[in-house]
C-alpha cells in the first residue's frame, strides 16, 4: 500500500498536467480540433478498444518493434564484440559504423519501403538498421574495457580463446550493451510510428495518420496515448530486467 501511494505521489505531476489539459479544453481556451478534452480522448479510447481492428494494429506494431529490436540487439552485440576483439574486423567495420551512425535513420523509410514494400518486413529492417548501431557501439566500448587480468585468468583456468570471449568479454560488455539497448528501445518506437505513418497499411502509426486525415482527433489522440504508454511500459520492463541482470554489481 505504501509503495502504491508512493508511486501515485511520484506521478502526481502527470495528474496535474491531465487536469490542466481538461480545464484548458473545457473552458474553450484552445480550439477543439487542436486539443480535444482529455475526457473525450479517454472515451474515444474505450470506443476503439472494443474494436478488433485496433488490437490487430497494435499487435502488428508490437511484432515489428520487437522483431527489429531483437535482431538489432543480437547482431549489434555480436558485431561490437567482434570489432573489439579483432583488428581486421575493426579495420573493415569502423569506417562503415562512423559514417552510418550520424545518419538520421528515418531517411531510410522510403528506402526500406522501396525494397520490401508496405508490409512488416520493411519496418523490421528499418528498426533493425536504426537500432543496431547504439548496441554495436555499447558492445564495442564494453568489450574493449574488459579487464586484461580477467581474460588471462580465464585462459589460465583452461578456457579456449572462444570460451574466453563468451565467458569474460561478453559479460564485461553487458552493462554497456544494456545502455545501448535502452537508446535502441526509444529509437525503435520513433522509427515504428513514423514509418507506419508514411509507408504502411496497418499498425498504430498508420492509425494515427489515418484518423488524423479523417478529422477524428479524439481517436487520433487516443492512439497517440496508446503508443506513448507502450513505450513507457517497455522502458519500465527494460529497467526491471536490467536491475535483475546486473545484481552482481
Amino acid at each position: 500500500m505504501a509503495r502504491w501511494t508512493a508511486s501515485l505521489f511520484r506521478y502526481s505531476p502527470l495528474l496535474i498536467l491531465a487536469a490542466l489539459w481538461e480545464a484548458v479544453a473545457q473552458l474553450g481556451l484552445v480550439a477543439r480540433s487542436a486539443l480535444p478534452p482529455l475526457s473525450d480522448v479517454i472515451k474515444a479510447w474505450f470506443a476503439l478498444a472494443v474494436t478488433s481492428d485496433f488490437w490487430f494494429n497494435a499487435v502488428d506494431s508490437l511484432y515489428r518493434t520487437f522483431a527489429g529490436l531483437a535482431l538489432a540487439v543480437v547482431v549489434g552485440a555480436a558485431i561490437g564484440i567482434a570489432m573489439a576483439s579483432s583488428k581486421p574486423v575493426r579495420a573493415v567495420l569502423n569506417p562503415i559504423v562512423e559514417v552510418f551512425y550520424p545518419l538520421p535513420k528515418s531517411a531510410l523509410i522510403p528506402v526500406t519501403a522501396l525494397w520490401l514494400g508496405f508490409g512488416d518486413m520493411s519496418k523490421i529492417l528499418l528498426i533493425f538498421l536504426g537500432c543496431m548501431l547504439p548496441v554495436t557501439l555499447g558492445a564495442y566500448n564494453g568489450a574493449r574495457g574488459s579487464e586484461q587480468t580477467l581474460m588471462w585468468s580465464a585462459r589460465s583456468l583452461g578456457a579456449s580463446r572462444w570460451r574466453m570471449l563468451m565467458d569474460v568479454v561478453f559479460p564485461s560488455a553487458v552493462p554497456e550493451i544494456l545502455n545501448g539497448v535502452r537508446t535502441a528501445l526509444a529509437t525503435s518506437f520513433v522509427l515504428l510510428v513514423s514509418s507506419e505513418m508514411i509507408a504502411a497499411r496497418s499498425g498504430l502509426g498508420f492509425m494515427i495518420g489515418f484518423l488524423g486525415d479523417g478529422g477524428n482527433f479524439d481517436a487520433m489522440f487516443a492512439v497517440v496515448f496508446t503508443v506513448a504508454f507502450m513505450g513507457f511500459i517497455a522502458d519500465r520492463l527494460y529497467q526491471y530486467a536490467m536491475q535483475r541482470t546486473l545484481q552482481w554489481r
Binding site: 579487464e147 587480468t149 580477467l150 588471462w152 585468468s153 580465464a154 585462459r155 589460465s156 583456468l157 583452461g158 578456457a159 570460451r163 565467458d167 569474460v168 559479460p171 553487458v174 545484481q247 552482481w248 554489481r249
Partner: protein, 270 residues
C-alpha cells in the same frame, strides 16, 4: 614412483637468456626484461623481488604465457611456453575474480573447463572453499566480500584445478597488514600440504624472506636478476621475525634492493 618423478619434472621452470621489449601504444619501446636466466626447482618456493617497474611482473606474465616470448626461452617441464594453460595457476594482485559470478561459480569455472563430472566439480569446489575458510559465502558475489575474502576466493579458484605451478603476482599487495600476515601463513600451510612450484612476485623484502626458499633480487629497469639469495628458515617458529639470523637476512637483501629502489624512483621521475 615414475609418475612422481614426471610430475616433479613437469613443475620445473627454466628461463634462458630471456629478453622482453615493452611496447607502449604511444612512445618508444622499453627493454623491460634484460637477458634473464633462472632455474626454478620443482616444488620450490621462489620469490621475485624488486622495485616497482623492474619487470618482475612482466617476467611472471611471460612464464604464464600471457605475453609472447620473443627472445630467449622459457621451458616448463622441458617444453617451451606457447600460451596460458591450467598447468600454471595464476593469482593476481587485484584478484581478477569474475564479478558476475558467485564465489562458488568462480571456483567452479576451471573445473568446468577441465570437463569434470558435475558431482565431482561441486565436491571439489566445496572442498577448496572450505579450505580457504569461505564456507557460508558460496553464494556471495565478489563485490560483497572484503579484500582478504576476495583473494581467498581467487586462491581457491586457482588451487581447485590443481596446477603444478603457482604464479603469484603481488597477491597480498592490496590487503591490509593484518590480513596480509594471516594470508601469508595460510599460503605456507597450503604449500606445505601440497607442495607446488611457486613463483611469488613482491616488493616486500620481509614477505619474500619469510615465504620463499630462495629470493631472486631484480634490478631496476631494465630488469635483470641481480642476485639469488637462499632464505631457508624454520617457518613454524612463531618468533621467526625476531630471530637474529632472519633479521640479518632481511638486512642483506634490503641492502641489495635499496640501490635499485632509489634508481627506480629516479627513473619514474623522468
Amino acid at each position: 614412483m615414475q609418475a612422481q618423478i614426471n610430475s616433479q619434472v613437469s613443475s620445473q621452470i627454466v628461463v634462458e637468456n630471456l629478453n622482453h621489449m615493452y611496447r607502449p601504444a604511444r612512445g618508444q619501446p622499453v627493454l623491460a626484461v634484460d637477458n634473464v636466466s633462472l632455474e626454478v626447482r620443482p616444488r620450490e618456493f621462489l620469490a621475485l623481488l624488486g622495485p616497482s617497474g623492474c619487470g618482475k611482473s612482466t617476467l611472471l606474465y611471460l612464464m604464464g604465457g600471457f605475453l609472447p616470448v620473443e627472445k630467449g626461452r622459457i621451458l616448463i617441464g622441458g617444453k617451451p611456453v606457447t600460451g596460458p594453460g591450467p598447468d600454471r595457476g595464476v593469482v593476481f594482485q587485484h584478484f581478477a575474480l569474475f564479478p558476475w559470478k558467485t564465489v562458488r561459480a568462480n571456483v567452479l569455472y576451471g573445473l568446468e573447463r577441465a570437463g569434470l563430472p558435475k558431482n565431482e566439480r561441486l565436491k571439489r569446489a566445496q572442498a577448496y572453499i572450505d579450505m580457504v575458510g569461505l564456507q557460508g559465502f558460496e553464494d556471495s558475489y565478489p563485490s560483497q566480500l572484503s579484500g582478504g575474502m576476495r583473494q581467498r576466493t581467487a586462491i581457491a579458484r586457482t588451487l581447485a584445478i590443481d596446477p603444478d605451478i603457482l604464479l603469484m603476482d603481488e597477491p597480498f599487495g592490496a590487503l591490509d597488514a593484518q590480513t596480509r600476515s594471516l594470508m601469508q601463513s595460510e599460503l605456507l600451510a597450503i604449500w606445505r600440504r601440497s607442495p607446488k612450484t611457486v613463483i611469488f612476485v613482491t616488493h616486500d623484502v620481509q614477505e619474500a624472506c619469510y615465504l620463499a626458499e630462495r629470493v631472486a633480487v631484480m634490478s631496476a629497469r631494465p630488469g635483470r636478476i641481480k642476485a639469488i639469495v637462499e632464505t631457508k628458515f624454520d617457518r613454524s617458529d612463531p618468533h621467526l621475525f625476531k630471530q637474529p639470523a632472519f633479521i640479518d637476512k632481511v638486512d642483506e637483501i634490503w641492502a641489495l634492493v635499496r640501490n635499485e629502489a632509489m634508481l627506480a624512483q629516479r627513473l619514474e621521475a623522468h
